[in-house]
Symmetry: none
């Protein structure tokens, strides 16, 4: 924890975000991260035991931030359906404002066994559960049909946003603006599940 406040630790995470985004985790060299961070190669191993750990730490850090921010924003809304709208807009804005991070999460983290399969992605589960909880709340308030299964609904909604994000990350020019996309996707979903 003392480490996490450390200047060098932050520099490595920041440099790694850029380097991983550029060519992917496997093609990224530890020495390149060190160079980008303006430190020596060996210094990285004072803060991280393995190259893998940089990616995991990076993910945890970013996801914590995203999760905390999303929770805070969602709380400002009391109507579950409004919460869904806000979630969509905020999610896409986060992607837009953090292209490098988004690319890593989108592409690298889905990757090999080392991560999605063996690494239990607690923060991602919590992120999905934010949606699940909103759906549950909507059902309890009678705003969402009682036959909607939160476990399916949360993935469907997240998946829809995520696929748009992938498109975002991989395209240079955007055909649709964020607000439009957020509105459309949340409307499909809300209309699809509301009572």
């Amino acid at each position: 924890m003392g480490q996490k406040n450390n200047n060098k630790y932050r520099k490595i995470i920041s440099a790694a975000t850029r380097v991983f985004a550029k060519n992917g985790f496997y093609k990224a060299k530890v020495s390149e991260i060190a160079k980008e961070a303006g430190i020596a190669d060996g210094t990285i191993y004072i803060y991280f035991k393995h190259k893998d750990d940089i990616l995991i730490a990076l993910f945890e850090e970013k996801m914590k931030e995203v999760l905390d921010n999303m929770k805070k924003q969602i709380r400002l809304e009391s109507d579950p359906l409004k919460k869904i709208q806000r979630f969509a807009l905020l999610h896409l804005k986060l992607i837009e404002d953090n292209k490098d991070m988004a690319e890593i999460i989108q592409i690298e983290l889905r990757q090999s066994s080392k991560f999605m399969k063996n690494y239990h992605n607690e923060k991602f589960v919590q992120y999905l559960d934010l949606i699940g909880d909103i759906i549950q709340e909507g059902k309890e308030k009678g705003l969402i049909r009682s036959d909607i299964i939160p476990g399916i609904g949360k993935r469907a909604f997240f998946g829809a946003l995520d696929e748009m994000s992938r498109f975002w990350v991989l395209s240079k020019r955007h055909k649709y603006d964020i607000e439009t996309v957020a509105k459309h996707i949340s409307n499909y979903f809300i209309n699809g599940i509301k009572s």
Copy 2:
């Protein structure tokens, strides 16, 4: 004679599907694919110039199959909304029946720059367009709201299915059966976009 060549080409693709699925593209060794295919290491290089090309060929092959099959199935249905339901069910069934392939497409192919970014994924674009075309058809028949944008809708729907597929691929036990998931997801979407 062509048979024999074809035979080995197929064996390599088949072996690679299993090997890539197990530990991912980067951790897969060419020698392991050869062993799995029951041929010599060097033989692989008669059919493929680089390790990369095996993954790309594999993807093209499988996607062609999936695309052809999906097109045929969709044509059997005349109602665009029914087409959406059928798409969902068939997509999830394909995933279920081709776990290894699904895992590769889900995880490996989204990966590094070499693929999603630089490799222009024509077949995937066509697959998405199948959905786009159905939406367009539905709009023209007055079954789908005129303000629905196919370019957003197709991604939202595919993303929803895809996120469920990911969950499927990464889980050992399935909480929900395919028919249920397909029904729910297509219902959200249909209710969300119908007139």
Copy 3:
């Protein structure tokens, strides 16, 4: 011997001469020689047991030709000093007319242990001895100083011609014409050793 008259054997030697000259023995691929010869890879191994053997055979063939030719030409001259002049001119002409062969002999055959060191180059020894014999004859006829050592003289003269040949092979444009070079080099030597 029946083999040596064989059409395919000749084709291989001829193709190998071109292929070895282009990029050197080590970089030359057996399959490239086969392609150049218009035959299958495997056919080469009907005529030669190893890639090495092609180079050795090629050398033996060419050297026999060169040696026979040189012997015949030398015999036409009775004056040992004239023989030296003729040797120089003929040697350089051979190089000029057989660039590919010259390059191989110059460069490849001097090469690694496999050849100059382990392979006892009988034909080359005989070629050098042609010069040695001329010197000996000249000494006996009192035309060449009695203190000249043929074993040194033959190498000095051959080396002088050979270095010019190397220059020839490696240059694209020739500063001096063959007759001039042959005349100069034989004059240095003749003046240097004559009584």
Copy 4:
């Protein structure tokens, strides 16, 4: 610190000289050079980008030494004809004292396109020019015939010495001693070109 680097660089050059001389460049394994140098395989790649570069560096290093030494020695003599004698003796002595290096220069460096053809051998050109300059000087002083062409003479003389060197390198026992050979070869040449 620079010392240490320098130290390993030297060790590699030295080890490579021995290893290349033994079996030739193409048969030499990088790992063998590393073992001979008492370092790890990877360390070689800190100092040299490619295996080729070791041979080139080795050559440049040795040639610089030889060239500097030869220049110094030649300057001690004022008579151009004496300079030629000294050149011959010194050249052969260098070969005798640096068998491994001589073998590499003699055999490996003449080799494939990578070297003699594509690699412009500046130091070798300068070495030859030392002889050319002596001839020019001799002509100006009226000691050497005015019709002698330095561009031909320098190659003839170098070639004569070089061919003796090759004989030297490839033989185990020497029939003639250095002084005799040097004296003979320089005498042929001097008598051959003097006024």
